[in-house]
């Protein structure tokens, strides 16, 4: 049986738990961002409002219900992701080593369109930095969100973030950073579409 002699590497580029948590996170982030914009509109502290058409919930009460439901998905899914990522040593293997020099070099190459994507199972330095950044950013969103939800019950977290009003700004700015990440992330997928399939079916 010469045909079967070729051994195919069956290991997926993205394991099942990673794909599951990635897409569940995407659902949670979309719900949280759109409902969050509606909540922001109730009392905007920067000089603008989000168009109602891109918000979720219909009114403040509805938006809060969506927000405080999806927060459980984001938090539980995020914890599952971190547990699997750290437990399987994937975090260490995929994201490190990482140096500022490598990030700058890869960023320059990427901007010149010269960053190869030959092996989708390896992240380049820019990807490593971006994904680590977004993990930290979501952690900050959860921490500042906890202060907004329960400022009296989490005094240490509240003081660390500079109080309730400061936590509102931090929550907003880390949302803006997450939305910016998603924008770049989607643009990169559009530029290198063959990275999409492995995130759906594993390879």
């Amino acid at each position: 049986m010469r045909e079967t002699a070729v051994i195919v590497d069956r290991r997926p580029i993205h394991p099942g738990w990673l794909r599951a948590t990635h897409w569940l996170n995407a659902v949670a982030v979309v719900i949280l961002a759109m409902s969050g914009w509606r909540i922001y509109n109730a009392s905007p502290f920067f000089g603008f409002r989000f168009a109602d058409a891109i918000t979720l919930g219909g009114w403040l009460g509805g938006a809060i219900q969506w927000h405080f439901a999806a927060m459980w998905l984001l938090a539980a899914n995020g914890l599952a992701y971190l547990a699997c990522n750290i437990g399987s040593a994937r975090l260490l293997r995929k994201f490190f080593p990482l140096s500022p020099r490598a990030i700058v070099a890869d960023l320059r190459a990427a901007l010149r369109g010269r960053l190869p994507h030959e092996d989708p199972s390896r992240y380049n330095a820019v990807q490593r930095a971006a994904y680590l950044f977004v993990i930290a950013d979501i952690a900050l969103l959860v921490a500042s969100g906890l202060v907004l939800w329960k400022s009296v019950q989490f005094p240490l977290l509240r003081e660390l973030l500079g109080g309730y009003e400061a936590a509102r700004r931090i929550h907003f700015l880390s949302m803006a950073a997450l939305v910016a990440f998603v924008g770049i992330h989607l643009a990169m997928v559009a530029l290198v579409p063959r990275t999409l399939l492995p995130m759906i079916r594993g390879r």
Binding site: M1, E3, T4, V8, G16, I39, Y40, A42, S43, F45, L60, G61, G62, I64, Q65, W66, F68, A69, W72, L148, K150, S151, V152, Q153, P155, R158, Y164, E165, R168, I200, R201, G202, R203
Partner: protein
């Protein structure tokens, strides 16, 4: 019953069959993907509603809101105090907020006013403002956090609500304390928050008699709850085990509304 002869198989190329089978085995990811898509469909069935059923979504969100009530009840620490501030940090002017405009603030007549106390209490007599004013008074400078997101610091003075409940002989093992107000507002709180040391039946704002816009003749002030949980113009207080709901809560705001 007729016994049929097994039909003759047409001549087949055994080699081609094996080749075809191997080809199919080599593509397990296709089947795996389909199987997982089916599981995703099954997952949506688990929620008990189809995604395009709007009432189903609303019911599910309300169920999560009830779950969040329980989580907040569990997170609530009866001894943990909300931060207090120096008087220099009081927000001036303190914002007016209600479900109606400032021109519709109810005028309550001081001389005929009586606070009704009913439900699971030993002493159901109605209180005059003078009687309430004669009880021990306390004040606090705390942050009022609105469900809309904004916050403001104010100074309220009045009677400790735990003290008041003990004076009227309230059954503190009951689940709820409900409030009915002169502006047709109504709300209810959990007993643990009612007994919190910073829960105050306020009669003054910033050292002066509570003005109509801030809830004359009295407002229940709880720095451990969002603004809409702090009723103004209170006319009746009742202790009960039957869930009383609230003006905003019945429309979808979270009932516990804790901070």
């Amino acid at each position: 019953m007729t016994i049929r002869k097994s039909p003759r198989l047409p001549a087949i190329d055994a080699g081609a069959v094996v080749k075809e089978a191997l080809l199919r085995i080599a593509q397990p990811s296709r089947r795996l993907f389909l199987r997982r898509s089916l599981t995703l469909g099954g997952l949506s069935l688990l929620t008990g509603c189809t995604i395009d059923d709007e009432n189903g979504v609303e019911r599910a969100l309300m169920a999560v809101s009830r779950f969040n009530d329980r989580v907040q009840g569990w997170l609530f620490d009866p001894d943990r105090l909300a931060p207090t501030y120096p008087e220099s940090m009081i927000t001036r002017p303190f914002p007016f907020n209600a479900y109606y405009g400032e021109d519709q603030v109810p005028e309550v007549d001081e001389s005929s006013y009586r606070l009704e106390v009913t439900g699971l209490v030993a002493d159901r007599h109605a209180w005059t403002l003078a009687e309430l004013g004669a009880l021990p008074q306390a004040d606090q400078v705390t942050r009022h956090i609105c469900v809309e997101g904004w916050s403001a610091i104010g100074k309220w003075g009045g009677v400790s609500f735990a003290n008041f409940l003990s004076r009227v002989g309230a059954d503190t093992s009951a689940r709820y304390v409900g409030f009915k107000c002169a502006d047709d507002y109504y709300t209810s709180i959990d007993m643990a928050t009612a007994l919190h040391p910073q829960t105050l039946l306020t009669l003054t704002y910033d050292g002066r008699k509570l003005p109509p816009r801030y809830g004359f003749p009295m407002k229940l002030r709880m720095p451990t709850k969002l603004g809409y949980k702090n009723p103004k113009h209170i006319q009746a207080i009742f202790v009960t085990n039957t869930y009383p709901g609230g003006y905003w809560e019945d429309q979808g705001y979270n009932w516990f509304g804790g901070t």
